[in-house]
Subunit: 238 residues, 2 copies
Amino acid sequence: EILGRILAFYEGEANRPLDGRHVIVTSGPTHEPIDPVRYIANRSSGKQGHALAAALARLGARVTLVSGPVTEPDPTGVQTIHVETARDMAQAVEDALPASVAVCAAAVADWRVDGEAGQKIKKDGSGAVPTLSLVENPDILASLSRRNQGRPALVIGFAAETEKVVDHARAKLARKGCDWIVANDVGSGPDGGVMGSTDNTVHIVTGEGIESWPKLSKIEVAARLAARIALTVKERNI
Amino acid sequence: EILGRILAFYEGEANRPLDGRHVIVTSGPTHEPIDPVRYIANRSSGKQGHALAAALARLGARVTLVSGPVTEPDPTGVQTIHVETARDMAQAVEDALPASVAVCAAAVADWRVDGEAGQKIKKDGSGAVPTLSLVENPDILASLSRRNQGRPALVIGFAAETEKVVDHARAKLARKGCDWIVANDVGSGPDGGVMGSTDNTVHIVTGEGIESWPKLSKIEVAARLAARIALTVKERNI
């Protein structure tokens, strides 16, 4: 008890500006099953979301990280919840509320397969191929942003774009009703550009304007973004 | 030169029965792109194929491992070629020929998306969802098995089945024209059963009959299968 107070004194609000705030971060891809062995995935590695969760925890936040399937280790000092599908992720976020801040960094699948097959779909030898009918997944970012009760005071989305990065991010900000969009250019090359890589070039799109950051490592993006969030929490008295 | 002969003498044919044979092994899943960020995948971890490549190398074979995207490390003493799609894998196998033995342990996607999108497919806000039209991928196992020239003397396929395991394996043996099918029950549970796990229950289906092995670790299945291959190479003078 006394030791705790001493430690709290030395760490101080200056170093732990997010003390007492609960932050939810989503990270990684989602996997949407086609049948028991096949699924639709995307190239998100979770590196950026996981680094951000760790950076927010270092600033004193209590962080709940809701992560899709990734090979990244669980960050230290963060409660990590592992999910597979967009529906699982939406439920885990719902269960983790209330929160002061929510950052949706996961690359949630927009669509899932309508009617997952219970058995492995097999070639029947006729050369006929199945068609996959898709259905829209829950929109976690929009749902959080448009909550009437218990909306986190700061809701941040990510946008991975292959073209017209800032235009698409502005449109996404308006469409989802969130406070910021962190937009990055994932390129359109066969290597998937920034996805899975260690660097990131991001633009922070808010109602007030756009900040374009230089090319940074994902660790540096995470540190800057966590500091930017802490500043806003202080300014807006969240 | 002299040291090499001494080492060869001590290792001897008994320990290295596959000396001088080239074996191609495929392993892991393939990823079939939908657009620059999304793809269709499957739950194969590559554990069984990679373990088999290592076991064959320990018996003296020169092994070319053609691997889809996996987190397994490249096995020691094996030439590993990394590919992503079924078409890439088919080409890499073709390039690796000739071989005495080919083992197709990869979970090659039966279908790919017809007409990969050059840009990320976006929700247009209308609620309309895209439909994915699929087209059949090259059948690596059947192509190897039905080669007129340069067919490996022993062609082995794997079958991951969720039901009627042996029946399906028998049908696959006939349909593909290969020599053996190593069939395993991947289950139909939400955890994907054996895929990604360390254990495996397999049935070796050949023109002569069926051997059902007890539940073994994938390392043990690999060692037994490599020894079984070495025995056949000796018996049939491959």
